[in-house]
């Protein structure tokens, strides 16, 4: 590809995505369908802007799936994963096994050899991780029963790709064909025995776990300290890519490796920042992937034998749907959730492209069959968003009228109602107070040193700059109730508040005011509450001072109270001045000096806080003396 080609292709892909996705979303189809349609339109059979190099793009874009699994891993704490073991191996295992047997039997009945039947059955038993997870996430279903079950099945399929890859060459023997001498063959092109490979697989997996658990945070801490955001992004990408490369090297699924490293880092303090960094890449690559799937649909073949192809697609989806539906029932997925589950996994998957190509290479399948399989899989993938839409809009409302409303409640589990942005000296006291009262908080801070210490004491602190919307989003701002901004840079503080106000209007916002000007800005923004950071502690020390000067402690306290009230009043007046100043563009230092002067003058003029007449009987004594020196009545 020369340079012009590159720009032309980029132009075509981006333009197609930018035009079709918003339209699809607007029509309620979801982004996946939009990308697929865009791919079909720019593909060789409609506009012909992209030709067969689309397949290279597809291989490249499959990396989006790897990133997606990494991100899902990040969301999934190891104990949560452990809790899913029954549905992964039970539900997932049975799904693949039964689907493979039934589909294989159909293939044999249609004239394939037994070996080819097994290969086809296993290949088509797999579903599309990319389409399913993207769609479920977009619909917010990933944390519901159907979403979790779907995920379990997909996870098992990812694991199963490894043995399937090993199995396919063995099938060649029972079919008509060429070289059946290929066995486990992977490592960097060098022929090695199966045992060595197993040992290497285990080593790599152990390596990923150990590095993810213990080493990564130190590396990220060093990088975070540089304060260069793009280096952090580069490191995040490097982490995912190197994991994938290692897995590939020993013949394991890269997506599985990325998922694993995501899981071991689910408790990592850099989790949110990693998420925020990887997310856009994942989105773009997945989009690219869907476009290339759309472009790969061979309309020529479809046109030449539409009846055959369409009935194969229908058979594939029908068989998988029935098996999934029955298994879902057995594994206790209720009503509407179950049709959702069965529909979402009833297509062929992107692994099928790899496996079909591999089967041809191994001589298990002939090229004609593979072209048909390719088309059937691609069509079934393209149909999935439509089927889910059908399920959503037609089947669900029809069959399960009442239950859908209740299911939603169980979504939340790990969300916290509080987000504290900034966990320096100020945030720590606040955080400790809230945590001491059983309120968990998601804490965002961008000082690596702080985080290290706090994590050691069991705080849930994450590294990140809260002035980014995506970080607020991954901290759960959409579900949180209160955001407390305690960062010490006023500019940053205001930026966070503006962002939160714009994107999460439901959030109550409390803020620390660093100086007077900052207080006025906070008042302008009508935050739900703010405190001048030094004010209270300074005043409390003032009370100490008065008691050392001979005041009674209680009296000093009352005086401080009166003073507080007075300051609040003055603050409002100064706020008004401040607004006028803004129009005059007075310099900051000029303003500060003027404010100080006004404050001090107000102190002198305020006679209130000099006298405190509570419990003071002097006025009564005076009155009593006037009335003949009698004692006042009590």
């Amino acid at each position: 590809m020369d340079e012009m080609d590159f720009f032309r292709n980029a132009l075509v892909y981006l333009l197609a995505a930018v035009i079709s996705v918003p339209i699809a979303k607007r029509l309620g189809f979801g982004s996946v369908l939009g990308y697929l349609l865009a791919g079909m339109i720019i593909g060789p059979f409609v506009l012909g802007y992209i030709g067969h190099e689309g397949e290279d793009v597809m291989h490249f874009a499959e990396f989006g799936v790897v990133m997606m699994l990494f991100l899902i891993g990040l969301e999934l704490k190891p104990n949560l994963l452990w809790g899913m073991r029954k549905s992964i191996f039970g539900l997932g295992g049975l799904q693949l096994l039964i689907s493979a047997v039934v589909i294989g039997a159909v293939a044999v009945a249609l004239g394939q050899s037994i070996g080819a039947g097994i290969a086809i059955g296993l290949t088509l038993g797999l579903s599309s991780t990319a389409i399913v997870l993207q769609t479920l996430t977009e619909k917010g279903l990933i944390k519901q029963a159907s979403g979790r079950a779907s995920f379990s099945v997909l996870l098992l399929q990812d694991i199963a790709v490894v043995p399937i890859l090993a199995l396919i060459p063995l099938m060649a023997g029972s079919s008509q064909s060429y070289n059946s001498s290929r066995e486990l063959h992977y490592f960097a092109g060098i022929e090695i025995s199966g045992w060595v490979q197993v040992v290497m697989m285990l080593t790599v997996i152990t390596g990923i776990v150990v590095i993810g658990l213990y080493l990564v945070k130190y590396i990220f801490r060093i990088i975070a300290r540089t304060g260069l955001r793009e280096v952090f992004t580069a490191a995040a990408l490097l982490l995912v890519i190197s994991t994938a490369a290692l897995m590939e090297l020993v013949g394991l699924s890269p997506a599985l490796g990325a998922f694993l490293s995501g899981v071991v880092m689910a408790n990592n303090e850099y989790r949110h920042e990693l998420e925020a960094n990887i997310e856009p890449f994942k989105g773009l690559l997945l989009g690219l992937f869907f476009i290339s799937v759309g472009a790969s649909i061979n309309f020529g073949l479809l046109g030449s034998s539409p009846a055959l192809i369409l009935s194969l697609v229908a058979a594939l989806i029908g068989i998988k749907f029935v098996i999934l539906f029955i298994l879902g029932r057995i594994f206790g997925i209720r009503g509407g959730q179950n049709t959702m589950f069965a529909f979402s996994l009833a297509q062929g998957g992107e692994f099928a492209f790899v496996l079909v190509a591999f089967s041809v290479e191994s001589g298990v399948l002939n090229p004609d069959t593979s072209a048909i399989l390719f088309l059937v899989v691609a069509l079934s993938m393209a149909l999935t968003p439509l089927l889910l839409l059908l399920n959503d809009k037609v089947i669900m409302p029809l069959v399960y009228k009442s239950e859908n409303t209740r299911e939603e409640d169980s979504i939340e589990e790990e969300e916290t109602p509080l987000i504290i942005a900034g966990f320096g000296n100020f945030g720590v006291v606040l955080g400790r107070f809230l945590i001491a009262n059983g309120k968990s908080a998601t804490i965002l801070d961008d000082n690596p040193e702080n985080i290290d210490v706090l994590r050691r004491f069991g705080f849930k602190v994450y590294y990140g700059d809260a002035t980014r919307t995506d970080l607020l989003a991954s901290a759960g701002a959409d579900k949180a109730k209160v955001l407390i901004v305690t960062v010490d840079d006023p500019q940053k503080s205001l930026k966070i508040i503006d962002l939160a106000r714009r994107n999460y209007p439901h959030l109550k916002i409390l803020a620390r005011a660093v100086n007077n000007t900052h207080s006025y800005e906070l008042m302008d923004r009508q935050v739900d509450g703010f405190q001048r950071d030094m004010f209270e502690s300074s005043l409390l020390l003032g009370i100490e001072a008065l008691t050392h000067l001979g005041y009674k402690r209680y009296q000093a306290h009352r005086l401080a109270h009166t003073f507080r009230k007075h300051v609040r009043k003055v603050q409002h007046e100064l706020h008004q001045h401040h607004k006028e100043d803004e129009m005059l563009y007075l310099s900051e230092s000029h303003r500060h000096a003027r404010d100080l002067e006004e404050l001090l003058r107000a102190e002198k003029e305020d006679t209130d806080h000099q006298k405190d007449s509570s419990w003071d009987i002097s006025s009564r004594l005076e009155e009593a003396r006037k009335v003949n020196g009698l004692l006042p009545e009590e």
Partner: protein, 198 residues
């Protein structure tokens, strides 16, 4: 119609979120025109009562209700603090202190004990009216009229229905006081203001 009397309910209840009776009584008053409700423990969680604000409130209303549970035969401590601070010499009493003259005060209290144990010599030597004497006398010194109290007895054993009935009575009486439709002479002779309806 403009209400004849403006009423303020000063609620002194440190544990309102756990209250069974007072909460329901107050709910019955929500949105009632001419009746404002103030939660003093929320306004002054640190006991630093704002005298200026409180005096202003008193001046703006004709009838003041002190609503609270009975703690140790008296009020929760914030009400005592409030009396000490807000009813200043020269404002509420003394030669110059006539700001509250002619206004009405009523205690609305709740207590776990049944009515018959108060003043029975066995358990509690004194009647509710005797126990409330300091409040009555305070009102008197401030030249205000002290209405018979609204008393909810036996709150521990009250069921939903009985609480509902009490709330209804409370709202009924306050509406009557607001509109000036209650027979004042007869009313002042009752031991409890509730006796007027039951």
């Amino acid at each position: 119609m403009v209400p004849k009397n403006k009423i303020v309910i000063q609620v002194f209840h440190p544990l309102l979120h756990k209250s069974r009776v007072n909460r329901v009584l107050l709910r019955a008053l929500e949105g009632l025109e001419g009746v404002s409700i103030r939660y003093l423990y929320d306004l002054y969680p640190d006991y630093q009562i704002d005298i200026e604000v409180e005096q202003e409130v008193l001046l703006k209303h004709d009838i003041i209700v002190w609503q609270h549970p009975l703690y140790w035969y008296s009020s929760p401590s914030l009400l005592k603090e409030w009396l000490d601070l807000v009813l200043e010499h020269g404002f509420a009493f003394g030669k110059e202190g006539r700001a509250l003259e002619g206004k009405y005060v009523m205690s609305a209290i709740s207590t776990g004990g049944r009515r018959d144990i108060y003043g029975s010599e066995e358990k509690v030597k004194f009647s509710i009216r005797t126990l409330l004497a300091p409040f009555e006398q305070t009102a008197s010194l401030c030249k205000m009229h002290y209405l018979p109290p609204f008393v909810s007895h036996g709150t521990y054993l009250m069921n939903e229905k009985q609480i509902g009935k009490a709330a209804q009575d409370y709202a009924h009486i306050l509406k009557g006081l607001r509109d000036g439709t209650l027979p004042m002479d007869k009313l002042m002779e009752e031991e409890y203001i509730n006796d007027l309806i039951s």
